[in-house]
């Protein structure tokens, strides 16, 4: 078997591959549904209904998609430069911590000033958190995959420590949770009575901003060059290490904005279950989007839909909601295979 490079396919063909990957995922998930003793058609019908069957469902899906857009963007930016940031989970929590620190009354400011300030400091916290592994990578050659992964565990312990210590809610009846944000620190809802909040708008704007950076700026060009071939980039005079550090700052900042948006927009306080693996799902989102920032929006909504739909489905059909996690993981693997097939021809002789 050999792989031979082939010319870039047309846009239509390129779009066909994610569709094929999703189709393959559905087929594999159907097998599991059959094993679970249910009918795949009715189960996926329920998933679809739960994800997009009503205005309420759709709003829930978009709400769930919001943090995924942020972590998806964080991963997409980092992976473009081949900076393997698997720590979006920790960076998201870093953002959440700063949001709570600044938003529970420490700064008595009007919302119009307070919210941007919180967002900026949240982003900075996430940026700093990823800067560490990035510095270790460029200075000492330490693989950032392992360091960012390990920091996820450190961070959740750190959050636990804060929630039982300095950030503990005195009225929380012993639950590890922080105080509620003050009213000025809450992101407004988009539609009254629904949970969808302005964090979603911020996510869309971030995606557009990242798209502009990647496509139109010298930094985006440098990041792509470093990702494809750092040696050639260095030869061309690009400051490879500096570019990687900048990438880390942007990536960590984006993931942390997800934490800000979740706390300020949805939850109102910080708990240990703020993120059910948004950081890891962000990897899937980014890959499904083929690292395209605008594609991240679509992919995040798709992945969120699977989670929201599967939750609704499992309540009625009795298939464990973990089917959603299985589908998301499978989609990741089928998608990387599909991306490879857009670039290479498999020859059997």
């Amino acid at each position: 078997m050999r792989l031979e490079p082939k010319p870039a396919p047309t846009l239509a063909v390129t779009l066909l591959y994610p569709v094929a990957a999703v189709a393959a995922t559905v087929v594999i998930a159907s097998l599991l549904v059959l094993i679970a003793g249910a009918n795949p058609f009715s189960v996926f019908g329920l998933v679809l209904k739960g994800a997009a069957g009503s205005q309420f469902a759709l709003m829930e899906t978009l709400t769930r998609a919001t943090p995924l857009v942020f972590t998806g963007l964080a991963v997409a930016v980092a992976f473009r430069a081949k900076l393997w940031n698997i720590g979006a989970e920790a960076q998201l929590y870093a953002g959440a911590i700063l949001t709570v620190v600044l938003g529970t009354g420490a700064l008595p400011l009007p919302a119009i000033i307070l919210l941007p300030l919180m967002a900026i400091f949240a982003a900075l916290a996430g940026a700093m958190l990823l800067l560490g592994p990035a510095v270790l990578k460029v200075r000492f050659g330490v693989d950032e995959v392992v360091t960012t992964l390990l920091l996820n565990f450190v961070m959740i312990l750190f959050v636990s420590m804060l929630l039982e210590g300095v950030l503990k809610d005195p009225t929380g009846l012993g639950w590890p949770q922080s105080q509620k944000l003050i009213a000025e620190a809450r992101l407004p809802r988009i539609v009254t009575g629904r949970r969808l909040h302005c964090g979603f708008v911020l996510a869309l704007l971030s995606a557009i901003a990242v798209w502009i950076v990647m496509k139109k700026t010298t930094l985006g060009y440098e990041m792509r060059a470093v990702g494809h071939n750092p040696e050639a980039a260095r030869f061309s005079g690009m400051p490879v290490n500096r570019i990687l550090l900048k990438t880390a700052l942007i990536s960590g900042g984006l993931a942390a904005l997800g934490g800000f948006s979740e706390v300020a927009g949805l939850k109102g306080n910080l708990t240990l279950d703020l993120s059910p693996g948004f950081g890891y799902s962000g990897i899937v989102v980014a890959m499904l989007a083929m690292l395209n920032p605008l594609g991240v929006i679509v992919a995040a909504i798709f992945v969120a839909g699977i989670f929201v739909g599967a939750d609704a489905m499992s309540r009625t059909a009795g298939v464990p909601s973990y089917i959603a996690n299985v589908m998301v993981a499978t989609a990741l693997l089928t998608m990387v295979t599909a991306i490879m097939l857009t670039r290479y021809q498999v020859r059997w002789r």
Partner: protein, 505 residues
């Protein structure tokens, strides 16, 4: 007695026909040279013979039996041994382990080290292939590594030995030793296919020559009945005319190095106490066997390496904050040795590649935003001016041939009319047409007053182009000599590390 027969082998890679109905046979105790330019199809043919590739048509027969296609194991078992151009040795293992790899049943409970050691010792002694069986391969010189490759084949009792460009990495002295070994092997009844593009070596070692050109057999001659000139004509498809090189008009020194040493990096050879000046209107050739400090010298001019001691001035300025950007700003154009890994970003487009050294200039970006329109126009300009065959500015570089990729790199480097040009192995792996093109462009640059540093392992290339020649060996440079001042033999001695002082009065 025919030991090996290839019958009308055809191999296509997409639209390219690498081998077109090639037939070849080899007799016992015979040395057949397979001669041809780069890209003529020699290596592809041998990869088919050895089972790395599967031919689209044709068969391979060894000792009367047809080999199953695509099975290196079958080729090995049939007694075919191959010494690849790029050594296939694992650096983390010993000589013995490399040689014995794959010769015992994989799932044997232990591997018989002592028996292997005895056999290797004997083979070493019999054929003059001196190398210690328990040395780590990473500690060996290039010449020793090649001996290990030959031992690998002999250890498996190979009766047919294929050597792919075996002398490319050897000094003239090492080449002589290799030839002595090959003669011993032939005396033992082995048959040898010797792949080369060097005419004098082919004349020296072979009984018969088969010339390949553009994937076809261009001719076959008994070595005794032919000469270099005739073979060259067959190889190129026309009478060989050396390009006319006008005498140099030497101007002022543009780059001066005095007693420069560079820091050691890993196993690479650093420069030590190098003094060299590059003059306007002159091509300075650096001859030498690969791995003798060329990488450090090229790195220094490219800005990737900084002098540890000694001084370097570029047009009168010191190398403060020396970096690739500083080198570019000082007007140094760089043509890197490895165009795939360093010269180009294979998965980016032609447009994105041609601006990689100048994307920060106002021509291609303003306030941090790229001007892709300007980049596209520039790419189209380079494609047109440098005769690059490609679908357009958006084509991925990966899909370009070696020659076209090099033209693109040449265009990128030469377009800003640089005053100093570093050309490191600029024609390696290119076909005749592309080589002539590259040489022409370098001579053109010289004519408009540029100082060119040409690093090449191909002595013929140096002799043709260079106005002044220095030899690099062990990180040191010899004193320069003018065109024609030293004989090939003298240069060879210098390449082997024999200091000139010994001969001087």
């Amino acid at each position: 007695m025919t030991v090996l027969r290839l019958s009308s082998i055809t191999k296509r890679f997409g639209p390219l026909v690498a081998n077109d109905a090639i037939s070849l046979d080899l007799a016992r105790g015979e040395v057949v040279a397979l001669l041809g330019e780069n890209g003529a199809g020699k290596t592809t043919l041998m990869n088919i013979l050895f089972g790395h590739y599967v031919a689209d048509e044709g068969t391979v027969e060894a000792f009367g039996k047809e080999l199953p296609p695509g099975d290196p194991r079958a080729a090995l078992d049939a007694g075919i041994g191959m010494v690849h151009q790029h050594f296939t040795l694992a650096d983390n293992m010993t000589v013995l382990e490399n040689i014995a790899l794959g010769t015992e049943p994989l799932f044997a409970p232990r591997f018989r080290r002592e028996a292997a050691r005895q056999k290797i010792r004997k083979l070493s002694a019999d054929f003059g292939l001196e190398v210690h069986p328990d040395s780590l391969v990473s500690a060996l010189t290039v010449g020793e590594r090649q001996r290990v490759e030959i031992l690998k084949a002999l250890y498996r009792d190979a009766r047919i030995l294929i050597l792919d460009e075996p002398t490319a990495v050897l000094t003239p002295l090492e080449t002589d030793a290799l030839f002595a070994t090959l003669r011993k092997l032939v005396a033992e009844g082995l048959s040898i296919i010797f792949i080369s593009h060097k005419l004098n070596e082919v004349m020296a070692i072979s009984d018969r020559v088969i010339v390949l050109r553009a994937g076809k057999v261009a001719g076959e001659r008994r070595t005794a009945d032919t000469d270099r000139k005739a073979l060259a004509a067959l190889m190129v498809g026309q009478d060989l005319v050396s390009p006319p090189v006008a005498p140099a008009v030497t101007g002022p020194a543009l780059l001066v190095m005095e007693h420069v040493s560079t820091p050691r990096r890993g196993t690479g050879i650093a420069l030590s106490d190098v003094t060299l000046s590059l003059h306007s209107g002159e091509i300075t050739g650096v001859a030498g066997v690969s791995g003798n400090g060329q990488a450090a010298l090229a790195g220094l001019l490219s800005g990737l390496e900084t002098p540890q001691s000694g001084s370097m001035t570029v047009q009168g300025h010191g190398p403060d904050g020396w970096s690739p950007v500083a080198a570019l700003e000082a007007g140094i154009a760089r043509i890197p040795e490895d165009r795939h890994a360093v010269g180009a970003i294979a998965d980016m487009s032609v447009m994105e590649n041609v601006i990689s050294e100048r994307y920060r200039t106002p021509r291609f970006s303003k306030h941090g935003f790229m001007d892709w329109k300007a980049a596209r126009n520039f790419a189209e300009e380079i494609i047109r001016d440098y005769d690059v065959k490609c679908p357009g500015p958006d084509a991925r570089i990966r899909l370009l041939s070696g020659g076209n990729m090099q033209k693109l790199i040449l265009g990128r480097a030469l377009d800003p009319e640089p005053v100093i040009i570093l050309a490191n192995q600029p024609t390696r792996g290119l076909d005749v047409g592309a080589i002539a093109y590259v040489h022409g462009r370098l001579l053109e640059a010289r004519a408009r007053g540029a100082a060119v540093l040409l690093i090449s392992e191909d002595l013929d290339e140096i002799l043709t182009l260079a106005d002044r020649i220095v030899v690099i060996s062990g990180g040191r440079l010899s004193a320069p000599s003018a065109r024609g001042e030293r004989t090939v033999r003298e240069l060879g001695e210098l390449m082997a590390g024999h200091a000139e002082a010994a001969h001087a009065p």
